[in-house]
Symmetry: C2
């Protein structure tokens, strides 16, 4: 089996196990078992569990970058909803990471730097996106750039943590739960929206439902255990 194919299989198995049980409870051996390869073969590709965690996270960042920029280039309110929801779907896919983030990043300075850099890039993209919305007359933000940054930052903190809050309250990650999360984000942005908030909310909800349905169809094929109901 080609090296890259084996590596991808290892990462897929690790992601599945990490999401199910958390990283602490999953050994490199167990990942090898799930892949149906020997411990030695796994070690040939990844020296230890930490290397696997880093590689899975790197995969998440690559995915984030590829899905992201298309929305960023089209400053419409529909794409705004799409950006937040795609990120939420990514978090769902790499759920273990967002659950254990504070602990994982604290233990690994390189991973922390990578996460911080990626997040900073994301914040800059979002700021530019918001200013482009403003340029098209869809939003009107405070002129102080620090205020816009704070608003964008808050929406991102809510987005990054929303699925954890669903867990805390024993709620499943359903379309209504995603709509509620985006509703809170819209509430933060609402004073700066120029269009009719009622209409925006309704349109965003259609976008979210459409994206969720697409993701469900994809997931049902590729990884039924991640299915959004």
């Amino acid at each position: 089996m080609a090296t890259r194919t084996t590596q991808l299989r290892i990462l897929a198995a690790a992601l599945e196990l990490f999401n199910e049980h958390g990283t602490a409870a999953v050994s490199a051996n167990r990942i090898a078992e799930r892949c149906g390869i020997s411990k030695g073969n796994l070690q040939y590709h990844f020296r230890n569990k930490r290397e696997i965690i880093t590689a899975v996270f790197q995969q998440a960042i690559t995915e984030m970058d590829s899905g992201w920029y298309k929305d960023h280039l089209a400053p419409t309110l529909e794409h705004m909803a799409a950006m937040y929801v795609r990120q939420l779907q990514l978090i769902l896919k790499y759920r273990f990471f967002y659950r254990e983030m504070a602990d994982l990043l604290r233990q690994d300075a390189r991973l922390r730097k990578r996460f911080a850099d990626n997040r900073e890039r994301r914040m800059c993209d979002l700021e530019k996106f918001m200013l482009a919305l403003q340029g098209r007359g869809l939003m009107r933000f405070p002129s102080d750039p620090r205020r816009l940054r704070a608003l964008v930052d808050v929406t991102w903190i809510v987005n990054e943590n929303w699925l954890n809050y669903m867990d805390y309250h024993d709620r499943t990650v359903s379309v209504p739960a995603m709509l509620e999360g985006y509703g809170e984000i819209l509430e933060v942005l609402r004073p700066y929206l120029c269009a009719d908030p009622q209409q925006i909310t309704q349109e965003s909800y259609l976008t979210i439902e459409r994206l969720a349905a697409q993701a469900s169809a994809r997931t049902a094929e590729e990884a039924p255990e991640l299915l959004v109901v």
Copy 2:
């Protein structure tokens, strides 16, 4: 040594070790060692590490309740700042819990229920507090109660996760970092403030500095390792 005194010593040692190393890396044995008691003595008080984690968390909730209600009863903007900052200081003290929250709560349905109940109580208190501010002419919120709830929820999500974000970006938990966190919370509430935002920000900052100085003085005596610089 009286039972309660020993229990408190065990919990204090556990909190210190959990904050330093995370719960996964700390065994019940190590907690006993740090206390200078035998493993058997520790087990007489707490059957296992999970019981210790639950007890530490229960302590955090009790502390939250006792420090909270006085602010809640005085609806001024100064007390609003005080509420968020006291919660931030509590999170700092019980930092391991907020770092590992998603994982700890997922593993323990009872702890999860306790956390969710406490959080729900907190949200209701905050809503009442905001309405009392409105009653005094200091704020003007949307009439739809779901919108007020969303705003309050967002501010709390930012507050609960702020210290983790400081960690991700390699920033120390200093007074400026706390001010910045409260600045983002104020940004969410700003469109609903009736008074001059500039003045509110300045007054809140004085409150935060005063509370941080008080906490430093207390911490320097009781637990120098938690010192906010």
